[in-house]
Symmetry: C2
Subunit: 359 residues, 2 copies
Amino acid sequence: MTVYNFSAGPAALPLTVKQQIEAELYDWNGTGCSVMEVSHRSQEFKDMADENEALARELLNISDEYAVMLIPGGARLQYSMLPINISSKQGEAIYAINGHWGKQALKEAGRFTQVSSTAKVNDEVYAGIPSYDDNELNAKADYFHYTSNETLEGVQWHKLPQTNGIPLCCDMTSDLLTREFDVNDYSMIYASAQKNMGIAGITFVIMKRDMIGQSTNLIPTMTDYKTYADTRSFYNTPPTFPWYVMLLMLRWVKAQGGVSTIQDINQAKSSQLYAFVDQSDFYLNKVDPNCRSEVNVPFWLHDESLNQKFLSESADAGLKALKGHMAVGGMRASIYNAISLAGIDALVDFMQEFERTNG
Amino acid sequence: MTVYNFSAGPAALPLTVKQQIEAELYDWNGTGCSVMEVSHRSQEFKDMADENEALARELLNISDEYAVMLIPGGARLQYSMLPINISSKQGEAIYAINGHWGKQALKEAGRFTQVSSTAKVNDEVYAGIPSYDDNELNAKADYFHYTSNETLEGVQWHKLPQTNGIPLCCDMTSDLLTREFDVNDYSMIYASAQKNMGIAGITFVIMKRDMIGQSTNLIPTMTDYKTYADTRSFYNTPPTFPWYVMLLMLRWVKAQGGVSTIQDINQAKSSQLYAFVDQSDFYLNKVDPNCRSEVNVPFWLHDESLNQKFLSESADAGLKALKGHMAVGGMRASIYNAISLAGIDALVDFMQEFERTNG
């Protein structure tokens, strides 16, 4: 049975990536060892890191004005690294909130700088992106932060936030590499790898070089961007295997035709799924169509008493990890890059049949 | 050709561990996915984490008085987490220095607390452990830190440091699980995984529960031990694959007969190698025999002009990564748990033959 894994992250890897891992498990690049066993100071590993950086810069059009870094600790660590490195107790940062993760980022930043937000922060389920008058933003704020895609709520920005000239920073954990955008609009972008760039354990950070190393805060060496930028992320032993899997993912994206092709596929995938949900009286998605996520599609059964049956039967049919986050309930199909159109077909077929027999 | 990988870390994995990774690469625990693709919130992953903690506690005799945590960022991050969490700007910490990594730990800690050291800190190559009068240590210091094994210099403590009652903290990155010791002698122990517990990306921390969450410092959530202790390291998406490999390594240690059997094997391995070096007029080890490392054996050729030839021919013979750290030069055989007695035989045979043809 073909299995489609709709996990929100850690998430599915393309089959060919797993096959490459398998092929090199006992002998990576002629070393006679797995890449997991090879020193990060070896020439082979340095060459791999060079290829990884070059490919990331090529696929995302990242100029040399930006440093690219690989940092452990997940996006969660960036929630504090960003304010500690870029702001101060006397500084200010603005957070645009459209869901759970943005709220978490705001909360952590508020411990290290003064924060304000574009939306009332409460426990409501977000169904859209915030509206605000950017002319009212304090132009002297250190940065403006937003979460380009909220995985719980399935709410995604499809336009660039206006910031009144404030440097723009973005948590792109769930949609980096899934669609085209212009890095030059940003001062800083971060994404942990386990959605579209590989496996958990490493976070990809793009940051304007002139922002790095400017802080007067006392920053632990391992949470200072300068440490990673100056050493090309080789200050200490990095998570070498997640780094290697990231390279395999970048090669895979390139082999697909690059980010623009990937974007076309992702739009086709999400359009098909939303169109099916919208025409149904059995399923429901509550998000404003102007900001629906192309990578996380939450949906609810009108009759929630069928939830357990739906989850159990879908899992038996090889459609895994469809349970929605406990904060929002219902179902969620995370359809990151590794989920093919065939995966969407299989899901829609199952949903149709489940509706027919239970509707 | 059998390859023996003497890398100082990331380091060799036992063959059976790689075989297990291979066997489960497409279907871990009946999920139909690789463990890399499975949510850390899934029951399967939580069960794995439970087994991992139980096995670590069993193999190392860790009582419930201690929390065990898995933290990203390597031992390097612990260099700052320890003083930030356990000391303060007004506090004091004492560092026993017997090599490179202890010096690095001292330097980082000195940014966050007042530090003193048992040895003059300079650029000399350490050939022994420091001697000091523990009655002269400030009994009110927040902690006493040492590095149980220094990987560059091959200098290992074979007795417990005396601390005048000061809580004892230890970087056991390179020798945890290689020999028996009593956890109860310590307040805190840490070890990054890539020597004897798996692959890079995760650090194992054992800490007395009553030390956790006591600080008045402003600590980023992701560098607060309380975050990991309270959530059993499930606060955010952890490095799931390194965690899984750690479990495979713990199972392997248990299958070998546990730490006491491993210790016997490691003593036999290092004794054989040191005995060969000591009887030779061609090779040399400069470390005080009372504190030679059982896991990192540095050695030098008297005729250093032969270094490149030695490295090239040993690599061709399947004996990989024997180059010493650039700070100390010469050669180094890192013979962690995954290196078998057969690996030592192969190395000694090669060294003997190289001496015969070049001596």
